[in-house]
Amino acid sequence: MSTQAIFTQTTYIIAAALFILSLKWLSAVPTARRGVIAGEIGMILAIAGTLLLPQIVSYKWIILTLLIGSAIGIPIAYLMPMTHVPQRTALSHSFGGLAVGLVGTAKYYLWNQHDPERLTPFIMAVLCFEVLLGFLTFTGSLMAFGKLQELLPTRPIVYRGQNFVNLSVLAIAVAIGVYLTINPAQIGLFPIFIALALAFGVMLILPIGGADMPTVIALLNSYAGISASAMGFVLQNKLLIIAGALDGSSGFILSIIMCKAMNRSFTNVLFGAFGQVSPQALKAEERTVRSATPEEAADILLAASSVAIIPGYGMAVAQAQHKVRELFDLLTRRGIDVKFGIHPVAGRMPGHMNVLLAEADIPYDRLLEMEDINSELPHTDVALVIGANDVVNPAAKHDKNSPIYGMPIIEADRARTVMVIKRSMNPGFAGIENELYYMDKTLMLFGDAKAYLSELVKVIGQEK
């Protein structure tokens, strides 16, 4: 091994250690930013070590593409509104998958032409796996981006025999992959293989509805990681194997958490087309609800000694975070204990709601996980639900016929008084009737979340 190669390997080992420390430090808020710095140093070291490799004969294109990438990446990082973080994440999974797929393709054509004995069955099998997973992550994540950005319909797109068609496409792709593993010289099949991988990515995401996006994003994250790891096997690069494995396991853990939070299985998320039909929504029976004006709501809040706010994605859509924060400030200043209950699937990706509330300057020690807020809700005076629906639906606990039966919920119904800010009585995303709204202790606060909260804040601010 040349001195240069040893130097490069050393930078890779240090980078691998720094990446692990980076994730370790991210586990808690006080050390989290140190984690980012560790990751950045690791990345810079690994890039520097790579650029010194003797194989690299020209820096012209490298410098140009690094500059273009940075010129696109920096504005994305600073200009992207926090409500759009799920879209950025989906896009970055797609770029990650694309890069991995392209590298695999380049290696295949290169070795096929110049170095066919390097395409051993093992390498060829891993390379096919890498290319398949990379390209399907690319188009799948682009689809997820389209759905999140609402360029595509967020409802599941389904047709008869869809699962059969999807699985057939995958099966043909795998069959070609196996054939290529045995006969790597069949270069004509490779573009077909890529086309099938790209098509499968699109078809996989078509039937998945907006409510399942948190799980799907986490799953695509896992795919992007595993494909990067596979690339490490092809390129004989242990740093890639490690970084890809870390990313893969992170995405996998997050998708398990998301599935548990919705009481669904992977197969159900991927093939279930949740939320496409809503029979309950059709038989809208007339039931009476109690509604309240901002003045009445203000009186109830001011008489409380503890308030639990349960935000959902509707709050973010209405851009009401900052009004929520003003309400939080006003109530806290009067000595009322205000906490937030965050359901794991509130928002469009894991942890999204926490970021949105932190952006509105709500201290993070006030943001409670589902289990913690549930143990406090029975002795909480007011539960204020803002833009959340299914995650507070008591039917999940006792109605075996409900599509969300078994899903863990935030038990807003156990607070002494429940207030729900909602536009109208239309059912939510999954089209499921919510009995919470008809309970005797529930007050419906009808209106746009931001407008209603502005009124509420004004009334409370005037009262001395």
């Binding site: 930013r33 991995v100 004989q236 970084a243 494995a245 300057d361």
Partner: protein, 103 residues
């Protein structure tokens, strides 16, 4: 590549996966969004593979594919780390002295 190499790589993969599970299980749900963008940035280390392909300039095809791959990975590295830090900066504990200056 020998069988030895393959096995060595598999060991690395298995150990890294288990380590990943253990480390990431401890991340507070509060930080799951920054976690995802940080692991994204880290797995964009596939950049080093693309750099070698682009820099070696072996055929026009590999150079074009390499250039696209480097651009895509660089976007992920740069925007991933920067946006993670931007998000983490927003997480603040309550500072009693600062209360009351509502905007």
């Amino acid at each position: 590549m020998t069988l030895q190499d393959i096995l060595g790589n598999l060991y690395v993969f298995v150990l890294a996966t288990f380590l990943g599970f253990e480390v990431i299980r401890r991340v507070s749900p509060l930080l799951h969004t920054p976690l995802m963008s940080l692991t994204n940035a880290i797995s964009a280390i596939s950049l080093v593979g693309s750099l070698v392909i682009l820099g070696a300039q072996e055929t026009t095809l590999t150079t074009v594919l390499g250039a696209l791959a480097v651009t895509a990975s660089t976007i992920n590295v740069v925007s991933g780390f920067l946006i993670t830090d931007r998000m983490l900066k927003m997480f603040k504990k309550r500072e009693p002295g600062e209360r009351g200056k509502s905007s």
